[in-house]
Structures are given as C-alpha cells and as structure tokens.
Symmetry: C2
C-alpha cells in the first residue's frame, strides 16, 4: 500500500510573528533524501458547532451566523466556531463558542470528527461538534466582533451549499455530517452536558 | 435580514514575502466606525478535481492521492488539486493538475462550485470540478512532489470521511458533492473537453 512519504524536519525558523498570524519556514528532508523548504501558519486549532434547534412546530432548524470575512471580502454564512484557548479542551471550547457567539447552551453534545482546512500551509485542525437541546440566552461577543445569528432548515442550507451561497469549507463539511447523521448513515454518540 | 457588516480597507502593509507564503496586515474600518487590524495570506486560488473512473465491471471508482502534508505531520488522502497559474483559467488549471498529478485526461468536465478553506486568514478559494471519461497517461510531477495515486469506491470514501481517515477539507467537500450528485439532488452541467 502506502510507501513512506514522511518529510523530516531539519531546521525551523520563525518568519512572521504578527498580531494574529504566526508563520514558520522549516527545512525538511524529502523521501528521496533531498531537502526542501516548507512554510506554514502555526495555529492552535479550532472547534465548530452544528447547533440543532427544535422549532415550535417540531421541525429541525440550524443555528448559523453571517459574518464579514475580510480576506475574502464577503459576508459569509457559517456555523459557530472559534479558536481553542491555551489548555482548553475541545468540548469546553465548543460550549464556550456556542454560548459567546449565539447565546445558546445545549443539553447534549456529540463529537462528529475533525477536519484540516488547509493541509498545504497551516497546522490548523477543526473539531466538529453537534449540539442539541438548546436553550437561548445572552451572547457575549469579543470586542470588534460583528456577527448576525439566524436559523434556517436543512433543505435551505443544502440548497445554499449547492448554489454557492455557502462556500465556507467547515460549514459545507457540517452539511455533509448533517445529511449523513440525519439519514442514519453516520450515527453520533451523544453525551449530556451535565452541570453546565 | 442582513445588516451591512462590511469592513473597509484603510491601509495595507506586506508583512511576509516568503518563498511560498505571502502575508498582509490591513487596517480596516469596522461597521461601528472603529478600526482593527486584519492579517491574511494572499493566495492565487486553486482547483480541485473529483475524477470519476469507470471500472472494468462498470462500477464507479474515484481517483485519489496520498501525500505527506508537513504542516499537519500526516500523510493525507486528497482529491487532485493545485494552484492556478497566473492568467490561467480554472478549467485549464483543472485539466493540467489532473494530468500532471495522476496522468489522466478526461473526456467531459463539470464545474460544481467553489469553496473558501479559511475565511479567517486566507484569500484562497478552491473551484470544485468533476471529470469523467478518463484515459490513463503519464504523470508529470513537479520537482520535490511526492504523491501516490490510487482508486477507491464511494462507499469506502464515505466510510473514511465518517471514521476520520479523510480529514482534508476540500476532499470532504468533494464527498458532499459526490453524494448529492449521485443521488440526483445536485445535478452537474457536463461539457466536452474538445480537442484536448
């Protein structure tokens, strides 16, 4: 099957310590013994939450956000997400980000999986969590954070994914998980958010 | 509905011109009139190809790659993809990357959509293309590019997505498109690759 494609680090140099971006240039040994340079963003990792809201009529609604994303110069539709704080576990991060950005707390949680948004140039991973049994509350946005929270149903979300109104990678992958979770193909292991 | 969340650029500064990464720090005006800094990677955009291979027994196989991705320190399963060359259109890029990385040429192509892998800190977009009517040929890897090409069926790919063997964002989104294209929910508009 797979041969050994590993690239071994030889030397690391910090090339950018910005206010937000932190970048390195490593010299690496390739599988054939030659050397090459690899530049990448160091990232602490993040968590995305797919919040399942039961509407008054019993139908499923999804909690989403609209946020202007400067690098792509567009207002983007996204599931709630945020970076992991130092020492924070991913479930705690999921609970915190959902509450801070949307105000919701959840009775039950399930970890679906993990994704790598840009394997070519960032260490970032995003854990995908589902939340259900939602209770509305006050949100607490970070300073300088402007985002709108809204709800929609699965059919609308999937139509937006198909037609190009949803282009955010993590949110498209949330839709993949939702579709397969709801069909029964990708079951989740729910756990109670006791004492929160 | 949506208020105006636009962030307006005030001043731009290049903070990294690496061999691969190119980063900027912009001062922007926020919706409330205050200012903030935004740091991001400038990227030319990329194309991913979902190559549909008809096996000898008529079943559908997908052409995938295994490639060591240094930033995440793992061998990653991916659909073929690559950056757009200056002045290149995305369909031409799709044809070139499929041939260079896998050796295959395709009789028909369809553009599925576009995704943004990291809206928080990169301008990168990835156009998603499907290819069918494949003919094998010689591949032409870039120097220092080591990747293995292999095929698998849809059930195996989806099981890998569910179980965490596939974590690459663009490839997970390829699976979302595949599943909905094959069910008839997200039809594609195929065009002939004439004269190639």
């Amino acid at each position: 099957m797979a041969g050994d494609l590993t690239e071994h680090p030889l030397h690391q140099r910090e090339v950018l310590r910005g206010n937000f971006l932190h970048a390195f240039r490593d010299e690496v040994r390739l599988p054939d013994g030659s050397t090459a340079q690899r530049e990448y963003i160091a990232h602490p990792g993040a968590v995305m939450v797919v919040p399942l809201l039961e509407a008054a009529d019993g139908t499923l609604q999804l909690v989403l956000e609209r946020q202007y994303r400067y690098p792509v110069q567009q207002t983007i539709i996204e599931f709630p997400a945020g970076k992991i704080d130092p020492g924070e576990d991913t479930w705690a991060c999921a609970r915190r980000e959902l509450q801070e950005e949307t105000g919701y707390t959840a009775r039950e949680w399930a970890r679906a999986g993990v994704l790598h948004p840009v394997v070519a140039y960032s260490t970032e991973f995003i854990e995908v969590w589902f939340a259900r049994g939602l209770t509305a509350g006050e949100r607490r946005l970070d300073e300088g954070e402007f985002l709108e929270v809204f709800t929609t149903d699965l059919d609308q979300l999937l139509a937006w994914c198909r037609d190009g109104q949803v282009t955010d990678a993590k949110t498209l992958i949330g839709a993949l998980w939702l579709q397969n979770m709801l069909s029964g193909a990708w079951p989740l292991a729910w756990r109670a958010s006791d004492g929160e």
